[in-house]
């Protein structure tokens, strides 16, 4: 069972990574980040159930990750809104002030 869960998680992670690196819309980038986090969560849960040493720790840890991810998403969206007010756009490639 484990390999299919891991494959699933890997596919999810790759989709998330692709989205985070390629998509122009910052909202979509944030969503992609969530996707990557969830792929990790899936791994954690899968190992806690089917791993060499099954343990509840993985599930509890994934709960923590979900909590932190929620907070992260809230902050991310807040920053995004502030940026939108400032620049009038949510396109990631226009946020290039670090270059100068």
């Amino acid at each position: 069972m484990l390999p299919s869960y891991l494959t699933m998680a890997a596919i999810l992670f790759c989709i998330g990574l692709y989205g985070a690196l390629v998509k122009r819309n910052a909202v979509v980038v944030l969503l992609s980040l969530e996707l990557m986090l969830n792929a990790v969560n899936l791994n954690l849960v899968a190992f806690s159930k089917y791993g060499v040493v099954p343990s509840l720790t993985g599930q509890i840890f994934s709960l923590f990750t979900i909590t932190v991810a929620a907070a992260e998403a809230a902050i991310g969206v807040a920053i995004l809104i502030a940026l939108f007010r400032l620049r009038g756009t949510v396109n990631v490639d226009e946020f290039d002030k670090m270059r100068r």
């Binding site: 990574l17 985070a20 690196l21 390629v22 980038v29 990631v92 490639d93 946020f95 290039d96 002030k97 670090m98 270059r99 100068r100």
Partner: protein, 623 residues
Amino acid sequence: MDRYTQAAWLIPLFPLAAFLVLTALGRNYRRAGVFIGSFGSLVAFLLSLLIVIDRLGANEVDYNYSFDWIVIGDYTLRIGFEVTNLTALMLAVVTLVSFLINVYSAGYMKNDERITVFYGYVALFTFSMLGLVLSDNLLSLYIFWELVGVCSFLLIGFWFTLPKARAAAKKAFIVTRIGDAGLLLAILLLFWYMPDHALDFTTIQSVFDGQSGAITNGITTLIALLIFLGAAGKSGQFPLHVWLPDAMEGPTPISALIHAATMVAAGVFLIARTFDIFQDSAAAMETVAYVGGFTALFAATIALAQNDIKRILAYSTVSQLGYMMMALGLGSLTGGIFHLFTHAFFKALLFLGAGSIIHAVHTQNINEMGGLGSKMRVTAWTFAIGSLALSGIPPLSGFWSKDLILTIAWETNPLLFIAGLAAAFCTALYMTRMFFLVFMGKPGAASSSAHESPASMTLPMVLLAVLAVASGFVETPWNSSFGSWIHDGSEEAHSSGVAIVGSIAASFLGIYIGWLVYGKRSVSRTAFQERTPWLVKLLERSYYVDELYAAIIVKPLKLLGSSLMVIDAYVIGGIVRLTGAAASCAGRAAARLQNGQVQAYGLAAVIGFVILVAAIVGRRFLP
């Protein structure tokens, strides 16, 4: 009876303290600076005098105090100070001349802006010279040896705004450096071959005295010759004499102190201190004697044709140092040191007299002077005494010391005796020429405004004149108290009728001819120049030694230097520039990556991560 001798280490500390205080005070305390400098050397002189009195008793043992300085593995380097009769004598001479120079400079340097700097340098020099004299081993002697060289450099270049002074300072430093390299090699050789690597004079004496065979003859000769190279550099012996005449660009009191009485005598002192090494090697002794004898005659002939009053005295110094070397080379420690002792007084006196004249007429060309005798009576009288002493007229001090050297030469080496006689004749001739041109005859172009110098300048001259008269009586053909004092009672008096008559005859003949030409003018001054212009020209240009060195040493060195410059500029510089260019190219390329696109950075991070993972995973598949 060595109450004061134990405190000998204090002597150099007074000038050192004076130097530190003068340096700390800065340039504004002009009068205070003069007093501090003079006071430091006065205390040092009084202490030295006490030590000499201490040691006048018969057969005083040498006092030595030393402590561990550096311990490396099982080798211990000890330094300390040693007081022997020879060092006590040198202490007294150095501190006395130094004190008199301090007093004299108060007048001579009065209007110089950097007078306190001058006094500071003089104090530093006195400290170094006393340290050199007191050193009980070759290593600390070498340190002080270099220190006096630095002071000499600083003081020759004291008026560094004059290009000639700068060049002279550099020349003095570089030429003496050649000799110093020899001395350093000698010390290294001694360190290598001596039992227990000992460098102190007591051990050197016992090793070379006892014929213990610890060091082979060849090595002994090599060491002795290298030490002589160092001494020749410092004491202006041929072929390293070229710096001394140029060193006259410095202030005149410095010429008197450093380049006549003390530092240039350091070479003679060094040989006297390591005399046992020389006595073990006949070849080295012969070299010293012949180089000394040659230098004595060579420099004396040059002095005949010079027109700069200080250059005449400088060549005369070189010539007299040659006498001292010749005496040492002929095996007479007494002769060398005795002449050093008397020469210190009368040559310092002559330089101070020359300074007094230059102070009055503001030129150094003796042809522009003349008739100064009536205007500067004290200077003229003291200068006359100094000249007669230098010429070797009995009973002045120079006669006794020169006569002792000539007697020894007569007994051992007739060739050198003749060279010494010829040099004595030339000495008397050029001193007479100088005296008549400066003090007698019609007033010259520059002598209209001449006046006697202030008391601070004439007083030291009078004192030195007294010493120039009296200091010779410590060693006469009938009384060798000086020799036995220096030598621990092992030298007997020399006397030889031929030498006495010869030296007196040579001196008087020189003076008589000088008087005929420059005093009575019954012989034309230019007669010689008309007959043999090439000879006069040769002497005027000092046998073209400077030109020769410029052609065979300086030019090739400069050529080598400029060719190395080309290599430096294009090969090494090219590599450096290439490295710089490569780095900036890489930087420019890397700067392209920084485009502000967060996603591009993310992609770079991911690629890096993938490469890392691939490397770690891929390693498993390698053998």
